[in-house]
C-alpha cells in the first residue's frame, strides 16, 4: 500500500496541564473515509484541534506525519496550505470580513502570489458550491459566521471545505445541531468531494451521519485513545447498544470526574 496521508503514532495531548489524549494511533490512506465515534468528553475535539495546531493544546508526546512531512513542526497556516482542513465544532465569528473576501484570501494564500484565482472563476465556483449546499446568495457578503445559526455555521464550514479542496478533511461534529435535511445537504457536499485524492476523518457522537456518508473504517475513542476499530457495522452496533455495551465488553471503568453530557 502507498504511503499514508496521515499517520499518528502514540499521540499525547494536554490542555491546561491535563492530559486528554493518551496514546492515540491512526493511519489514513488516500481516498479513505474514517469515522471516530465516542462519548462526549473523551478527547475527540482535542485530537482534531491538536492536529490543526490550536494554540491552547499542547502535544506532550508522539509523532504525526502528514503527506510525508512532520506535521507537528508546521505552523497552523502551513498545515492548511499543505492540504489539511478542520471543520470546527465551534467556528469563530469574524466581524467586518465578508465570507467571500475571506474565502478568496484563503484560496489565494494557497495558490501563492502571482497565481491568484481570477475573480470571475472564483465567483462562479462560489455560486456553484453555495447552490449545492442550499445557501442563499447573501451568505457571500455576510460577515464570516457573524450571527449565523448553528446549522448555518456548519454549512459554511462545508462551503469552505469545498472551496479549498483539501487533501484531508477532519469534520468535528459537523452533524451536531443539524436537522435531517441539513444533514443530507452536508453529506452531499462531502460525498461530492470523494476521490482518491481526498481523505476524510469524521468525528461524531452519533451514527446518524454515517447513514449518508459511508465510512471505510470506524474507530471508537474512549478516554483519549482508540479502544476498538472495525467497519461500518461497528457504528450500527453502537447505535443499537450505546457506548455502555462496549465499555462492559472492554472492561472500561468510568473515570472519576468524567461526566457524560449532551453536545
Amino acid at each position: 500500500m502507498s504511503q499514508p496521508v496521515l499517520k499518528i503514532e502514540n499521540l499525547h495531548v494536554a490542555i491546561e496541564g491535563k492530559e486528554i489524549v493518551k496514546g492515540f494511533d491512526l493511519e489514513i490512506h488516500g481516498g479513505e473515509i474514517h469515522a471516530i465515534m465516542g462519548p462526549n468528553g473523551t478527547g475527540k475535539s482535542t485530537l482534531a484541534s491538536a492536529l490543526m495546531g490550536h494554540p491552547k493544546y499542547e502535544i506532550t508526546e508522539g509523532k504525526v506525519t502528514f503527506l510525508g512531512q512532520d506535521l507537528l513542526e508546521m505552523e497552523v497556516d502551513e498545515r492548511a496550505r499543505a492540504g489539511m482542513f478542520l471543520a470546527m465544532q465551534y467556528p469563530s465569528e469574524i466581524a467586518g470580513v465578508t465570507n467571500s473576501d475571506f474565502l478568496r484570501t484563503a484560496i489565494n494564500a494557497r495558490r501563492g502570489e502571482g497565481n491568484e484565482i481570477p475573480l470571475m472563476k472564483f465567483i462562479k465556483k462560489l455560486d456553484e458550491k453555495m447552490a449545492l449546499l442550499d445557501m442563499g446568495e447573501e451568505f457571500a457578503t455576510r460577515y464570516l459566521n457573524e450571527g449565523f445559526s448553528g446549522g448555518e455555521k456548519k454549512r459554511n464550514e462545508i462551503l469552505q471545505l469545498m472551496m479549498l479542496e483539501p487533501k484531508l478533511a477532519i469534520l468535528d461534529e459537523i452533524d451536531s445541531g443539524l436537522d435531517i435535511d441539513a444533514l443530507k445537504v452536508v453529506a452531499k457536499g462531502v460525498n461530492a468531494m470523494r476521490s482518491p485524492e481526498f481523505s476524510c476523518l469524521i468525528i461524531t457522537h452519533y451514527q446518524r451521519l454515517l447513514n449518508y456518508i459511508t465510512p471505510d473504517k470506524v474507530h471508537v475513542m474512549m478516554q483519549g485513545r482508540i479502544v476498538k476499530s472495525g467497519g461500518p457495522e461497528l457504528a450500527e452496533r453502537l447505535e443499537a447498544e450505546g457506548y455502555d455495551g462496549l465499555k462492559k465488553e472492554l472492561g472500561i471503568e468510568e473515570e472519576e470526574g468524567t461526566v457524560e453530557q449532551e453536545a
Partner: protein, 436 residues
C-alpha cells in the same frame, strides 16, 4: 489698543487688514476681534487624561499661498484619487491651504437654492444666512482658547445650505488640502439644512507637509432641520507634523436624523470631539468613528451626545486601533436630560491593541436625569483574539495576513458607511498603509 497674544503675533489691526482684504461683513470682523481677545484669556480645553500642555496650537503661518486649477485633472494625484467618479462627481469643493482651488456645483442644485461654497465667498454673497448659523446653537465661540482662536483667525471654511424640502440624492464632497510647511489651517465648516431636506456630505482632510510645525484648528457646525436628514462622512489624514484640534458639533431638530461616519486616520497629535445635541422630539443621531494610532502619537477622542428631545435616539460605535507606542483616550458620553422621556442612548467603544507599548483607554459614561429611558454601554480594550487568528490561519492564511483581515474587519463599520467610492477606497488604502 493692540491686544498682543502671548506666542501669537496678531493684533486687531492685523485682523482688520486681513478681514478687509477678504471683504468680510462687519459682524464677522467683530467676532474675529472678540475671538482674539478671548483667545488670550481663556484656558486651553482640558481633555481628560491627555496632557496637551506644550502642544503647538498657536505657532503657524496664517496667510498661505494657494493656487487654483481649471479641472480636476490638474489636481495632484493624492487629491484627485479621493474625488468621486461618475454620479458621485459634479458637486465638489477643493480648498488648497484654505482657499478654493476648484469648485463645481450642478445647475440643478443651484436652481433649487442649494449653496455650496467656501466660507469667504458665502460671507460676501450670503452674509445674513451665514450669520444665522456661525457660532450659533451648535458651537460656542467662548468655550475655550481654541474655539476663540478659530473665530479670530479663521482662514478656511465651507458653507453648505440646503433649503426646505430639497432632497439631494448625490453626495457633496469637500477636500481640505494643506501643503504648506508651518501652515495653519483654521477651518470653519457650516452645514445648514432646513425642514424636510436631506443631504450627504463627505469631507477629506489631507496634508502633505513635513515641518513638524503645522496646525489644524477645525470647527464644524451641522444644523439638521425638522424632519431633515444629514449623512456626514469625514476622513482625515493629516500628517504627523500637524497638531490638530477638531470639534464637530451637530444640532438636531424635531424628527431630524444625523449620521456621522468618521475615519480619523491622522498621524499627528490630536484632540477631537464629536458632539450631537438631540434638541427636538423624535430626533436621532448615529455616530460611527474609527481611528488608528501609531508611532508616538497622542490622541484624545471625545464622542458626546445630549438628549433633550423626547423619544430621541442615539447610537455610538467607536473603534480604535493602537499600534507601536501610540497613546489614546476614548471618552464616550451619553447624557439624557430631564424631560427627554422615552429616549434611547446606546454606545459601544472598542480599542484593539496591537503592541504592548501602545496605550488605549475607553471610558463609557452614561449620565441620566430621566427615569423613562433606555440606555446602554459597552467598552473594551483588548488584543486580537488568538482563537480568531487560529481560525483564519487554519484556512491557510498566514498570520500577518490574518491580522490584517481582522483589523480591516474591525474598522469596517465606518468604511462601509462612506458614500463615495473613492473616499471608501482611499480610507481602506490608508488603513492598509497604517497597519503594515
Amino acid at each position: 489698543m493692540a491686544t498682543e497674544m502671548k506666542n501669537l503675533h496678531y493684533d486687531t489691526s492685523y485682523l482688520e487688514n486681513f478681514s478687509g482684504r477678504r471683504g468680510e461683513p462687519d459682524w464677522f470682523l467683530d467676532l474675529r476681534k472678540k475671538g482674539l481677545e478671548l483667545a488670550q484669556t481663556l484656558p486651553l480645553p482640558k481633555p481628560e487624561k491627555t496632557r496637551i500642555i506644550g502642544w503647538n496650537f498657536t505657532q503657524f503661518e496664517h496667510e498661505l499661498p494657494t493656487r487654483t486649477v481649471d479641472a480636476v485633472a490638474d489636481l495632484p494625484e493624492n487629491v484627485r484619487s479621493l474625488i468621486g467618479q461618475g454620479e458621485q462627481s459634479g458637486n465638489l469643493l477643493v480648498l488648497h491651504n484654505g482657499s478654493t482651488a476648484y469648485a463645481t456645483l450642478s445647475e440643478d442644485l443651484k436652481a433649487k437654492g442649494v449653496i455650496f461654497t467656501d466660507l469667504a465667498t458665502a460671507l460676501r454673497d450670503h452674509g445674513d444666512l451665514v450669520k444665522k448659523y456661525y457660532f450659533s446653537k451648535a458651537a460656542k465661540l467662548d468655550a475655550h482658547k481654541l474655539t476663540a482662536l478659530n473665530a479670530a483667525l479663521v482662514n478656511s471654511g465651507l458653507f453648505l445650505y440646503v433649503p426646505k424640502n430639497v432632497d439631494i440624492e448625490v453626495p457633496l464632497q469637500a477636500v481640505f488640502w494643506l501643503d504648506h510647511d508651518n501652515g495653519g489651517l483654521i477651518n470653519h465648516v457650516i452645514i445648514a439644512t432646513e425642514a424636510n431636506s436631506s443631504v450627504t456630505y463627505v469631507e477629506n482632510y489631507l496634508s502633505t507637509t513635513n515641518s513638524g510645525q503645522a496646525v489644524a484648528n477645525i470647527i464644524t457646525e451641522v444644523y439638521v432641520g425638522e424632519n431633515a436628514r444629514v449623512q456626514f462622512g469625514g476622513v482625515e489624514y493629516l500628517s504627523s507634523d500637524v497638531t490638530t484640534f477638531i470639534n464637530r458639533r451637530g444640532y438636531v431638530g424635531r424628527d431630524g436624523n444625523l449620521q456621522w461616519a468618521l475615519g480619523q486616520m491622522n498621524d499627528g497629535d490630536l484632540i477631537t470631539e464629536t458632539y450631537s445635541e438631540l434638541a427636538g422630539d423624535g430626533s436621532s443621531v448615529d455616530t460611527k468613528a474609527v481611528s488608528i494610532g501609531r508611532g508616538t502619537q497622542k490622541q484624545n477622542f471625545v464622542n458626546r451626545i445630549k438628549h433633550y428631545g423626547k423619544n430621541s435616539t442615539s447610537n455610538m460605535l467607536i473603534h480604535g486601533v493602537q499600534r507601536e507606542e501610540a497613546q489614546a483616550i476614548f471618552n464616550g458620553i451619553t447624557k439624557i436630560e430631564h424631560g427627554a422621556s422615552k429616549s434611547d442612548g446606546e454606545q459601544t467603544q472598542r480599542v484593539l491593541m496591537l503592541s504592548s507599548k501602545a496605550r488605549g483607554d475607553a471610558n463609557p459614561i452614561l449620565l441620566i436625569d430621566e427615569d423613562d429611558v433606555v440606555a446602554g454601554h459597552a467598552a473594551s480594550v483588548g488584543r486580537i483574539d488568538p482563537i480568531q487568528l487560529y481560525y483564519l490561519m487554519s484556512r491557510g492564511i498566514p498570520k500577518n495576513e490574518a491580522e490584517r483581515l481582522i483589523i480591516h474587519g474591525f474598522l469596517e463599520p465606518v468604511v462601509s458607511q462612506l458614500p463615495i467610492e473613492g473616499v471608501k477606497e482611499q480610507l481602506a488604502a490608508v488603513i492598509e498603509g497604517k497597519v503594515q
